[in-house]
């Protein structure tokens, strides 16, 4: 859970601070987990296979969010989209998985980390 958050105290003077990636990427440390994307399902959203996903379990999933959920014994990540009155996990290729009561959501993707 190596994470630092919060704003620097104004009492600390004007010394230059190194950019803190944790501060930029992690809003709620105890609820934040990292996962590794495997596969090309989310390329249309700019996520490549092997990318590191920042997943915040405390961020409520809303339409347009990338959401990690449990499916057939695996973690799956898809875009949550509105379809009429219901919600669907879409993969950008026209396939959808309907969200139902049994759907077990792990968390919402809030960031992507990729080393070039």
């Amino acid at each position: 859970m190596a994470t630092e958050t919060g704003f620097p105290s104004p009492a600390r003077g004007y010394e230059a601070q190194a950019i803190n990636l944790n501060e930029l990427l992690v809003r709620n440390p105890p609820a934040t987990f990292y996962m590794r994307m495997q596969g090309v399902q989310l390329v249309y959203r700019g996520i490549l296979s092997g990318d590191l996903l920042v997943v915040d379990r405390s961020r409520p999933p809303a339409p347009g969010c990338l959401v990690v959920f449990r499916q057939d014994g695996d973690f799956t990540c898809r875009e949550l989209v509105r379809d009429g009155d219901s919600l669907v996990f879409a993969d950008g290729a026209g396939n959808g998985i309907r969200v139902c009561e049994e759907t077990e959501i792990f968390g919402t993707v809030t960031g992507v980390i990729r080393k070039l």
Partner: protein, 416 residues
């Protein structure tokens, strides 16, 4: 009002959170060296397994019944525990960490508060943010809060003492199940006709003071809704935790080291009193989430010892190394905590064939002397000066170890 919160099958739940294929599956977790079953979930209990089963006796049965087996992964458990503790600290100003999966939360006695609503909020928040199921007992004393929690596990996860038919509930609880009453004390009490928690509560306080130990007397008080301030010990802990919140924020590493050293000494004296050895140490460091003026920092780090030990300098050396790695300057710290994990009996430690540490007897003698002097002249009469660490590693048998999902970037859970 006091909330007692603990995780449901903590070790097994930690394993399950990162294994989407294991929902509703039976899980057992093995001790150091994969010796015995130390934790299991309800699904595994229903299959007839129990804590304390020797692994070599039940391994075939586990395989036949499709039970999933894990070696204890203290790196993962300590990280999940720190996340949960940090959530409690965000939601309640006064938190006492009792063990890796158990905390007491203290709330003021408000006029007409909805304590159950607060508890349900805590429970939902921890489940949503970490995936960990917890249950909560609410009562005016810690002993009663623990009793409520145990009942809560089968009644929706949250239970308040004031909503119960108190006498009926206490009559159904064997006296040995009450906190601080182990099997030997229970046998003693039964000879005096005290068989249930109800009997113990009805025991007159003046007689309790005369005939019982000080711990026994406090237990009778607590059953009568009179809070005892002192710590109550279980007979034998599976992990030992020692911490304190600082009254004034602490900023310097040297001050934190001094505090950590004294908590470590306290934890190790309890470790030695119950004749256990520790194989895994975790240190937790936190600022005050209620102090909105300063930057926040909360982190935990753990390490395995080269072999199970009860030798204070080795444990303290490891703890201090962890603290120095955790420490960042520029923060106002509120709490430092040490957790001793993976405890086993000190007497059954097997002598390692390649053990170069022939000084075990000398260090035992030294520690006995240390304990003796401190118990005679007061704790902290003798203190350990500097820690030392050693890079030699203890080769522990951990055939079923899961990845460090939350702390190692090479071991992250995969998403498809």
């Amino acid at each position: 009002m006091i909330f007692h919160i603990d995780a449901n099958s903590f070790y097994a739940s930690c394993e399950r959170i990162f294994r989407p294929d294991l929902a509703d599956k039976p899980i057992v977790v093995l001790s150091n060296n994969d010796g015995i079953v130390i934790a299991l979930n309800d699904e595994a209990k229903k299959q007839g397994f129990a804590r304390g089963n020797a692994w070599f006796k039940v391994s075939a049965d586990c395989a036949a019944k499709g039970v999933h087996v894990f070696s204890s992964n203290y790196t993962l458990y300590a990280d999940m525990s720190a996340r949960i503790v940090s959530i409690y600290n965000r939601l309640c100003p006064e938190v006492e960490v009792y063990s890796i999966d158990e905390c007491f939360l203290y709330y003021p006695d408000w006029k007409c508060p909805d304590y159950e609503g607060i508890a349900r909020h805590i429970r939902n928040t921890v489940l949503r943010e970490t995936g960990m199921p917890v249950s909560i007992g609410i009562a005016p004393t810690r002993t009663l809060a623990k009793i409520c929690n145990k009942l809560a596990k089968k009644r929706g996860g949250v239970l308040a003492w004031n909503t119960l038919r108190k006498d009926d509930e206490l009559r159904a609880i064997p006296v040995g199940d009450v906190w601080g009453i182990g099997w030997s004390k229970a046998a003693f009490l039964r000879r005096y006709g005290i068989a249930t928690a109800f009997d113990l509560r009805s025991y007159p306080l003046d007689l309790a003071k005369k005939n019982l130990t000080i711990t026994g007397f406090r237990t009778v008080q607590e059953l009568n809704e009179i809070p005892a301030n002192e710590r109550i010990e279980s007979e034998k802990c599976r992990n030992i935790c020692s911490s304190k919140s600082f009254g004034e924020p602490v900023t310097e590493l040297s001050e934190l080291e001094e505090a950590l050293a004294s908590y470590t000494e306290e934890a190790v004296s309890r470790l030695r009193a119950q004749k256990s050895a520790v194989s895994y140490v975790s240190v937790f460091l936190m600022t005050n989430p209620w102090d909105e003026s300063g930057p926040q920092y909360c982190n935990q780090l753990s390490a395995s010892l080269q072999k199970p030990t009860s030798f204070l300098p080795d444990i303290l050396g490891t703890a201090e190394t962890l603290l120095r790695t955790l420490y960042r300057s520029g923060y106002r710290y509120r709490k430092v905590m040490i957790n001793l994990l993976g405890l086993e009996d000190d007497i059954v430690l097997q002598k390692d064939l390649f053990d170069q540490d022939s000084g075990k007897q000398e260090s035992d003698a030294l520690m006995r002397c240390f304990d003796e002097i401190n118990s005679r002249y007061g704790r902290n009469t003798l203190r350990v000066g500097t820690g030392r660490s050693d890079s030699r590693r203890w080769a522990m048998q951990r055939r079923f170890l899961s990845p460090a999902y939350t702390t190692d970037v090479r071991s992250l859970p995969e998403v498809h």
